[in-house]
Amino acid sequence: MAVPNPAGDTRLRVTAEDVTAFCDFFYKKTGISMDAGRRYFIDRRLEDRIAANECRTFREYLSLVKFQPAGAEMQALINEMTVNETYFFREDYQFTCLTRRMLDEIAARKEPGLDRIRIWSIPCSTGEEPYSIAISILEDWPRASEFDIEIIASDIDTRALARARQGIYQARALHRVPPRIRDNYFRPLGKDSWQVVEDLRESIDFSLINVSSPTQMARMRNIDVIFCRNLLIYFDDLSRRQTAEHFFDALNPGGFVALGHSESMSRISNIFVPRKFPEALVHQRPFS
């Protein structure tokens, strides 16, 4: 049960039991394993949502989240609990690997002018990663004009997706973008603020996806490359394995998965084959 806030306001404070119950519920809905030890992070966000919904107890709030038919509060809760801090060309050695190695291998199995190349960025957060992928391809892959290339960008956080579609960033997010690239693909909006040019924004398909939902994941098929960086670190072992299985099904045979630098597919599942390129280690769906 929540206890009164000694600060004297009407907001409730959640207890350790509340946080444990919340973490269990949140895991079942999203696959994200929240560490109950991170109380400073969870408490404030949870208390904010309880206050915003004028709930009198944590149980009342949990019932609202569980049984609200439209699921709006569940989405608001997900938006609060997910982390969206990133920047352009983060871990860009993988984009170099994409344009120097992976795309050439994929293109060798496709018919120029007929087949599409499909790349999936998940979670795309506020858009820095899919835009970085798009710019890397346009700038560094000589065969980009021979193929139709689709970039699909997905996230569980609707607020992050809205920002991604808007494509407006502060200078901090662009600190690794060379001036020439910035001038070609962004337009200044004022001091320290830039927006991705409309053509580029329009070329990326942003969509809401919960990787823990088999139904939603079953929509994703015929993908050639998946960038899934620094997501699985928030999952427990079973959710990681289930996500790896979903990625396997989403990929074409021979397709690649790129994980974050601290993540290892070999510790998650053995259904992929490691491919060690000079620039990066990625994971490939076997051809047969």
Partner: protein
């Protein structure tokens, strides 16, 4: 050519294409179709025996792994028991898959340590010790101490020493000493015990 926005309809079409054709069956000649048949069993508590049979009989890794994940997702006592029986199979990939799957359902795997620790096959007992290391030591330390007091196989004891070194329990020191004394002719065990004692002291 160049960048092209993927439309939902295009993605859905791709999914539809993937779904077309003949129906998935567990005896389908194509592994991806057998895999889909396995995935269709996910969430069905009555599918345990079928999934275990798939793991035993289907040599294709993509099919087996889908069955392991389906069993882990069930997270029930019967699922854990079915998977535990695979620990005595000859195929090491299958045994490792079983171990990983049991580790994903700790609540149902922990009660199985006791019967696994009494299995005739020392390899199964080794897997039981490895499984204990994957679970919460608070739930497994007593079992590790008990097995350490009676285990007579040197290879099992070697794994036990490593697990006991991480269990954080003071009683483990005496058990480790008895393991060392039990195998005076095995220098590798003395080394394993020393390493475990050092780790306990550091903890």
């Amino acid at each position: 050519m160049g960048l092209l926005k993927a439309r939902d309809s295009a993605i859905a079409r791709a999914a539809d294409v993937a779904a077309e054709g003949d129906l998935p069956r567990l005896d389908h000649p194509d592994a991806p179709m057998r895999r889909r048949a396995v995935q269709a069993l996910s969430g069905d508590p009555a599918s345990v025996d079928t999934l275990i049979a798939v793991i035993r009989d289907d040599a294709d890794n993509m099919v087996r792994q889908a069955a392991f994940v389906a069993l882990a997702g069930l997270n029930t006592g019967p699922a854990a028991q079915g998977v535990a029986a695979l620990l005595s199979e000859a195929d090491p990939a299958l045994r490792n898959g079983a171990l990983e799957t049991l580790a994903a359902m700790p609540e149902h795997a922990a009660p199985l340590l006791e019967p696994l620790g009494r299995h005739d096959d020392p390899d199964v007992r080794i897997f039981a010790v490895l499984l204990a290391g994957e679970l919460d030591y608070a739930a497994t330390a007593d079992w590790l101490l008990d097995l350490g007091a009676r285990e007579r196989d040197a290879n099992v004891c070697s794994n036990l020493a490593e697990a006991l070194g991480g269990c954080g329990r003071g009683e483990a020191v005496a058990v480790l000493d008895t393991i060392r004394a039990r195998f005076p002719e095995e220098p590798f065990l003395a080394f394993a015990v020393d390493t475990a004692l050092q780790r306990l002291a550091e903890d």
